[in-house]
Amino acid sequence: MSGGGMNEAKLIFEKSVEGRRATQKTPSDVGHSVNLNPDYLREAPPELPELSELDVVRHFTELSTRNFGVDTGFYPLGSCTMKYNPKVTERIAALPDFAGLHPLLPQLRLGGMLTQGALEVIWRTDLLLRELTGMAGFTMQPLAGAHGELTGIMIMAAYHRDRGNSKTTVLVPDSAHGTNPASAAIAGYDVVSVPSDENGLMDLDALREQVDDRTAGVMLTSPNTLGLFNPRVKEICDLIHSVDGIAYYDGANMNAIVGRARPGDFGFDIVHLNLHKTFATPHGGGGPGSGPVGVVEGLLPFLPVSLVVKREDGTLALEYDRPKSIGYIAPFYGNFGIVLRAYVYLLMLGRDGFLGVSENAVLNANYLRTKLKDVYRQAYDRLCKHEFVISPSKAMEEKGIRAVDIAKALIDRGFHPPTVYFPTIVRESMMIEPVETESKETLDDFAEAMLEIARLAKEQPEVLTGAPRSTSVRRPDETKAAKELNIASL
């Protein structure tokens, strides 16, 4: 076997040299502790690596060269809104008076006065998000989109409990993101899947049959994961309301309509937003995110504790006495550092900036869709919003080319692939979200690569099935990973 090789990845633990160190011991200025019970001590220090600072810096710098971010290149990962993350937000989040702020400070007597700046960030972000969504108030506590969904469903449950309703089901379209049914289920509801119609939208006739007295609510994203806006979204909300159900809006796709249409005006009662998508905070290789949840007036009493409120004297305070609240769903005020970054972005955009976001997100998507639609199979041949779904054409499939091959070939051409195999209701799906921060030149280059790949699929399919060739590894064996299950070096 050819194992080894010059570039074989080495774990940081394997670089360890006994006795080497990166940090120097801080001498104790208080003498040595007498308060250690040998029964409670560990026998030997934990086996962490022993390295110099330079070793550590080189290790992680090297790892970073095997990674691809928005800063590296075009990243049209559908449903994830991989837009540019402004650098200024990092500098502001690192200001010591934000970064060094202890979350328990406001719980000291008059402690709220010690954190007025941070509370103002939360409060002002809340006001801006209200205006953008048409909701009456937000909680910043949810720590990601899925956490926002769970919070929303808990609010839904609290509402029904308060009304004396006995509701057991939540309706979720078959095109929904996996977190939607998962969130409804772990909150204690039975999930009912609503089929899509031939236009890729929620099938209203089916929905009418599925809605009944047991219906606690519906979860919907519009535009949906196919990038299609449902013009009958208000009818759906009305139908749910007719059985005293709650309409939940998954705002992960808000980028398509931000600044020009509001889920509150569609009839939704609860909205979550993904600050790490629409509001440009870095995705971090899979988080941290932030998933604020907004609700209409009637649901305000159920929002988690605590909430930032403005007092008569103009100062801000945290409100804890909220008897109908669902309680704490996170320890403090959410991922404050992420909310702070989003606040900076919100301020920089302003009203016109948001109109520009949605306009360019939708324009870029339709421009790219138009360029690709004759060569790839388009799931739905019509105007899309911020993203669209295509699949390999019949001719490509006949040559054995699958979405995964196209994805890997894109890697060799310097692009991050789109989301593949989701949404599952489209076979061999590739979900492309170009986002507004990308330029026409980038889209042209990407389209050209896609067209070249399409050509190769017919002429030299083996070039594609052998891709990628430019990366440190190619097509790692996932079956082996699951079967042999090595998930930690012990």
């Binding site: 940090t23 502790s33 971090g284 988080g287 941290p288 769903i329 320890p331 299950l485």
Partner: protein, 452 residues
């Protein structure tokens, strides 16, 4: 327009090629569903927004000499942690769906999982959860899935903030949550054993506990296991530089908050939840898990594995709804642990303990200040009783530039006068002395003061 590359000219060109007008782009949204002009401010540029935020930052008092802890600590962060983690290749990537473009994130997460296992004495770990509280909730759900039971026993010495979170999460579920009450600081064996029965699926403890007290739970693990329940231990990772890991006590699931591993306090987040367990239970674990494998050329590679547990495949049958986790925070933690290394972490833990011991003796020598518990072994935090309500005294000390500690009356009945004081390696002898003098001054004239 901010952050938009396309010029007006390019936009015209693109519309033309698309065969659409600017209005057409939103033609599918019925006019009655479109928003009127929104009431939003005019955009700011980078200089303006920086000025505005710097002003807001000044309204925070982050620079008090702080003895606040309670699960969230002011530890020293080496410069290399943010320098490396902020690299755009890491920070602006997303979930590693394409392993060829994410070996950096994937290997770092595998190393994070390994470091968590080595610290906690467990066999498997995931690639992070949101925070310590949601990690405890996920650990509880995992234990109930494994045992197919619905009763949870949680000790009162577990962080009260996490306990109220668990209460929220279980409200709609048929989970029977039992909490112990009114012990002596150390986990009361008698009370815990009394609550464990044949329906108990999970026993949740914390080490060091919320009062800072260190314990060894092997007896509770044994008792729980004999009755078919699993032991969950929430742990403060810095303490593991010195103290016995839960894995050696027989814990089945270990969870906790990783903020202390190189993350700033940042007013409550982003933080880092971690969870570790036994290999036999790995298929019941929530969240992303990274595994080692080989590629088509037999080269060592890393991928997300055991995905059929997750929401994007299993939907409403998934082990959790988590999708985005706290990957970048986990990266910071593994960089931190690599820099501290085997010796450094132990030394930091020891230094925290040294400072706490010293502060304890210094503060208990103040007339009227008494230890609240008899339990003697604490790590970097302890509880003292003051001669008057602690909240009041702490309030007075703020004027002296001190966040003297946390008043326990907020979460515990009968602890009106109790203060939780936390030390890290950053607090100096001088600062401790300043706290002692200020406290003594603040207590002067109070009834019990000087009565000793």
């Amino acid at each position: 327009m901010p952050f938009i590359a396309n010029t007006d000219e390019q936009r015209r060109e693109m519309l033309e090629q698309t065969g659409l007008s600017a209005e057409d782009l939103f033609a599918d949204i019925p006019p009655e569903l479109r928003a009127e002009s929104l009431d939003l401010p005019i955009g700011m540029n980078e200089q303006q927004v920086s000025g505005h935020l710097e002003k807001l930052a000044e309204k925070n008092h982050a620079r008090l000499v702080s003895f606040l802890g309670g699960g969230f600590y002011d530890h020293f962060i080496p410069a290399a942690v943010p320098a490396l983690a902020s690299r755009g290749e890491f920070a602006t990537a997303y979930t590693p769906y394409q392993p060829e473009l994410a070996q950096g994130t994937l290997q770092a997460m595998y190393e994070f999982q390994s470091a968590v296992c080595r610290l906690t004495g467990m066999e498997v770990s995931n690639a992070s959860l949101y925070d310590g509280g949601t990690a405890m909730y996920e650990a509880m759900m995992m234990a109930l899935r494994i045992t197919r039971r619905n009763r949870v026993v949680i000790d009162e010495t577990v962080n009260p903030i996490y306990r109220v979170m668990i209460e929220s999460y279980t409200r709609n579920l048929s989970i029977d949550l039992e909490q112990t009450c009114c012990g002596e600081g150390q986990v009361s064996r008698e009370r815990i054993f009394e609550l464990i029965d044949e329906n108990t699926g999970a026993v949740i403890l914390q080490n060091p506990n919320f009062f800072g007290i260190i314990d060894d739970f092997h007896d509770i693990a044994e008792y729980a296991h004999e009755r078919g329940a699993l032991l969950i231990v929430s742990v403060y990772p810095i303490s593991l530089g010195l103290h016995k890991p839960p894995g050696e006590m027989g814990a089945d699931i270990v969870c906790g908050e990783g903020q202390s591993l190189g993350l700033p306090l940042s007013f409550g987040g982003p933080y880092l939840g971690f969870i570790a367990g036994r290999k036999k239970h790995v298929r019941k674990m929530p969240g992303r898990i990274i595994g080692e494998t080989v590629d088509t050329d037999q080269r060592r590679s890393f991928v997300m594995t055991l995905q059929p547990r997750e929401q994007h495949i299993r939907r409403d049958k998934a082990t959790s709804n988590i999708c985005s986790n706290e990957s970048l925070c986990a990266l910071q933690a593994v960089i931190y642990l690599s820099l501290m290394g085997k010796q450094g972490l132990a030394e930091t833990a020891e230094l925290c303990a040294d400072k706490a011991s010293y502060a304890y003796s210094r503060l208990t020598s103040i007339p009227g200040v008494e230890p609240h518990f008899h339990a003697k072994w604490f790590f970097n935090e302890f509880v003292l009783d003051l001669p008057e309500p602690a909240a009041e005294v702490i309030g007075r000390l703020i004027e002296k530039g001190l966040a003297a500690g946390f008043p326990l009356s907020r979460y515990y009945r009968g602890m009106e006068n109790s203060i939780l004081i936390s030390l890290t390696e950053k607090r100096t002898k001088e600062e401790i002395g300043y706290l002692a003098e200020a406290l003594e001054g603040a207590l002067e004239g109070s009834q019990a003061g000087g009565s000793r």
